[in-house]
Symmetry: none
Subunit: 130 residues, 4 copies
Amino acid sequence: MFNIDISSSTPIYQQLVDSVKEGILKGLIEPGEKLPSVRELAKMMTLNPNTIQKAYQELERQKVTVTLRGKGTYVSSNYKPRKDEDRIMEVKDLFKKGIVEAHYMGFKREDILKMIDELLKELEGVGSND
Amino acid sequence: MFNIDISSSTPIYQQLVDSVKEGILKGLIEPGEKLPSVRELAKMMTLNPNTIQKAYQELERQKVTVTLRGKGTYVSSNYKPRKDEDRIMEVKDLFKKGIVEAHYMGFKREDILKMIDELLKELEGVGSND
Amino acid sequence: MFNIDISSSTPIYQQLVDSVKEGILKGLIEPGEKLPSVRELAKMMTLNPNTIQKAYQELERQKVTVTLRGKGTYVSSNYKPRKDEDRIMEVKDLFKKGIVEAHYMGFKREDILKMIDELLKELEGVGSND
Amino acid sequence: MFNIDISSSTPIYQQLVDSVKEGILKGLIEPGEKLPSVRELAKMMTLNPNTIQKAYQELERQKVTVTLRGKGTYVSSNYKPRKDEDRIMEVKDLFKKGIVEAHYMGFKREDILKMIDELLKELEGVGSND
DNA sequence: GTGGTCTAGACCACC
DNA sequence: GTGGTCTAGACCACG
């Protein structure tokens, strides 16, 4: 849980956001569950509390969590997906970059589809929560 | 060609790199073809030559182009793919993020696969270069 | 430390890269140690921060250092050597040029071997890290 | 003979200089022998005559060849080596860079010495012309 | 405070 | 003409 690579070029707070979302998707974190407090998590991961704070703010902004003042941060139970055109573009861009890179590494259509399939299985739950 | 979003958070030079690689993949730019000169492109896009320069250097570092001093920058004609473990991880991470985001937007397994399929078609040539 | 010849034809940033790598090899800089900040070193050497920046980026690209955003640049502690065919050729070319030049200065086989031996001693630690 | 890599970052004229010197050392070109004319060589290698010219000038500057006006460029027969301190430093720097790079690729003392030995054999004649 | 990006403008080596 | 390097000075994101 919460795999962070401090030497990566993507900001730590962003890695945290991704990590939490991935955890929820995999079922490691349940909807309604309480996340560790900012200070607690900061100590656990030897990170600056500001960094955790920023990640939690971002998660709340994305409606992935809700914060109850004085109580803590909880995974939202009723997340209402909105398919903004912008966000769809973002996702497409991620996939597009992936495909372009994969091509440049010599992967072919089938290889790419196989890789996607494996990832879909790894992130189980994707196909089963409609 | 060369779609740049000046207000995006991803660096301009990086967008240029992605754009060129995508263009090659789509067949808009042929192997062996000459890219615009640094100054020329800078004027065309009203960017600083240094920014273009940085993009071109990165492309060369990735062996996507070769540069002949005093002559110009050319799309590499014989690209030898190398599959580092590190690079595979990078690509997987791109796809993984895409899948996680897609899920949060309410997409289901089939939606994702369909999206990938469309992108593969858009980036034609991917399946035909073995 | 950081001997730079401003009038040399090899770029300053490249000299910096070589200098740091040599320093590490000689043990003047320890693995894990922090390098001076970009601005600090720029002031120390009366160079433009961009020049230092370029050198540090190149070092990172070569996995000689890691950079922690907002914290600084550190000498990589666990360097994993990779022997590309290309890189071996580069090194051989360096030695070959050296030998050719040495010959033109009247050095003989033994002289060259002696010189190499001295250099290996000067760069102590080379023989002791298996 | 005259292996040129136009995509290399070292100038073509410099590659030519190195190539001629290496050829002489290997005995492929004899002292007193005539080099191809500037125009001839330019046509042979599809290079700009200016480039050949510059290489020949550099060779003459280094006393490796002599140019007889209206006759051509010849390999000097009586080369008198001078061991300037500066030139020795240059050679040492070449070897030093080679050693540093070799180390970073995981080569050990013996590996390096073996490589040097092989190169000395490849460039035969080095040990036999005193 | 740190590194990362960008602009503006200059100079050089190479072909 | 080309790409490559360097300076000067600005702004931003990150921790």
